[in-house]
Every structure is written in structure tokens, then in C-alpha cells.
Symmetry: C2
Subunit: 187 residues, 2 copies
Amino acid sequence: MARAGLSADRLTQAAADLADEVGFENVTVSALARHFGVKDASLYSHIRNAQDLRTRMAVLALAELSDRSAEAIAGRSGKDALVAFASAHRGYAHEHPGRYAAVQLALDPDVAADSAVRHTELTRAALRGYGMWDPELTDAVRLLHSTLHGFVSLERSGAFHSHPRGVEASWLRALDALDSVLRAWPA
Amino acid sequence: MARAGLSADRLTQAAADLADEVGFENVTVSALARHFGVKDASLYSHIRNAQDLRTRMAVLALAELSDRSAEAIAGRSGKDALVAFASAHRGYAHEHPGRYAAVQLALDPDVAADSAVRHTELTRAALRGYGMWDPELTDAVRLLHSTLHGFVSLERSGAFHSHPRGVEASWLRALDALDSVLRAWPA
DNA sequence: TAGGCTTTCCTAGAGGTCCTAGGCAAATGA
DNA sequence: TCATTTGCCTAGGACCTCTAGGAAAGCCTA
């Protein structure tokens, strides 16, 4: 019997692709095994259990998201950086809904800590042009994360579809609002 | 054999309580049946399937959340109303984490539409004091929802725990920011 | 190149969840 | 009182998770 050449990384990658296709909650060890033409028990040599697989997907997604963010804010500052950073997030969530869901649902503090720290650092970098320092900067980072995450996740859950007002216009308006509030941020 | 006196409403209520205790994702038809000392097949006379149960939980939670919001903004306007509305949301999410998770994850557009409309109307009412009209009001409602939902869900997922800055301070700062941005909202 | 070692994938199986079909008994009401 | 409706049952299939133990593939060394 020829080997399938599995590894934790290949499994994680395939699981993430599967999540983007069929939704994060439909990614099962069985489905992943089927995708590789292998029995589900075989996967347990590479991953500890289903939760481990989900955590690996979250770490992968957070790393990809950070890569995108870093590229987006490179050479930009102020509102340019803010808009680029926010758009990178929203774009990633739209292109990779399953991966984005993984980040939210499956972050195991111990394992995901490093990835999360990098992401936070990038967010602080994105706001550098506004000239803030701790603790105000932390407040601003939290507000930015909240607004971004909230908007994207509500948009994806269909909460904005009930109203005819275009989502894009609301998005731009939200970015304007964030920019003005950050510029006027009391020190 | 004595009957357990089940009904869709009792099941939904119990499922919601269970969700607050053990987490939304751990609420299963089997677990709910065990709670009533009944076989799981028996529940299918009252609910269509597991997804139906989750949707009912979401509708229940959204109704409760709307009740709280309505009470919070009654007799208030401007920043008072904003803070009361936001605090009602955050308080509900903290007291009822399982119910709050249900609202986000399990909203079936057809079934939940009525509850969602009421919730949106209340949000518009909360912002009445800022003197906005459509389409700007819709943008503002979406921004408020995004920020609230994002903050609360990131807070609950532990995303803010990595930093020593108190979450409460960041929350108050976020509300200040929202208020100032709403007061200056371009018409 | 033959033997041993490690890794990879297998079969077998236990236990859990979801859900359907069909049956009997309790509650309801004519 | 008896027929009808309703509520809960047993039985069972399909799928998922995960463990234990076995066999073969690939690698290493003598």
C-alpha cells in the first residue's frame, strides 16, 4: 500500500482549504481523511485530536492574516495605513471565510499566544502614525480590533443584508469615523 | 410511564440555560434529553432537528437582549442612551455567554428576521438623540453594532487578556470615542 | 544487501451524536 | 366510555471521534 505522504502541515493546509469550501464547522477528521483517500484513524499519527487540528488551522490563519497586514501597512502611515490594514483584514475574511472562522473560534491561549502577539504588534504598527503611546495606544488597538472584527463578522453572518443601504458605503464611513476618532484621541 | 411535560419552549429555555453553563457548542440534543431524563428520540416531536433547536435559542436570546436594551434606553437620550444600550449588551453577553453565542452563530434569516428587525429598531431608537437620518443613521447603527459585538466577543474570547491594561478602561474609552464620532457625524 | 528500526497506514472496535420509523400508552374530548 | 391525539418509547442506521494493536514501507547500518 503506497503511502499518502501526510504530515501535520499538509493536513492543516488541506483542512484550512476545506474550511473555506464547506465551512469551518464542517471540517471533520473523517472528511479530511476522505480527502486524502485514507482511513480516519491514520490521521491520529499526525494530529493529537480534532481540537488540535482546529487550533493548527487557527495558527495558520493568524499567520497568513499577519503576513497580509504587514504587507498592507508597509510604507504607509496615518489614514493610509489604517485603511490598508482594515482592508487587508476584510479581504482575508472574505476570501477565506473558513480560516477566518478558525481564528475566532479555536484559539487556544497557550498555542496561539505567539501568533496573537505578532498580530497585536502589527496593529500597533498600523496606528504608529497617529502618535499614541500606552496606555492610550492599547485602548485604540482594542477599539480598532473590535470594530474590524465586529463589522466583518456581522457582515459575513448576514446581519447587514436586511437593509438596502450598501455595505460598502457603511464600511467606508466606519473607516472615516475610526480615522477621525484616532486623530482626535485624547492623550 | 409518566410524561415529562416537554414542549418546544421548555426545551429551548433549558437548552439556553445549558448553553450558559457548558458552552453553546456543547449543547446537544442528547445532552438536553439527558437533562429531562428522556431518550433523545423523544425530543424530535418538539423540535425539527438540532439546527432548529439552535435557531430557537438564538431567537430567545435576541428577544431577551432586545428587552434589556429597551429597558436600558427608556427615558434616556444622547450619550446616556448610548452607554446604557451598550452596557445592556455587554452585561447580557457576560451573564449569558451561551445565549450570546447562539445569537451570533445560529441566526437563520427566515426565522430570526422578526427578532432582528426589532433589535435594529431599538438600536435606531438608542441613537435618536444624535439627530441622524437615513442613510447616515444606518451607517451609524452598523458601526455601533460592529463595535459592540466586536468588543464583547473579543473580550469573551480572551483576546484582551494578554495585556495588563484594564479592559474596563478600554471599554469606557471606546464608548467615549463612539459618542464623539456620533456627535460629529456628517449629515 | 540483509537485517533491524522507525514511521505510516491499516483493521477492529467502543462510544457518542443525529435522526427516522413504527409502536404503545397516557391524556383529551366527544 | 371509547376514539383520537399526543408524548415518549425501542430499534436501528449513518456518521464522527479516538484507542489499540498489526503489518508493511522506507531508512539506516553492518
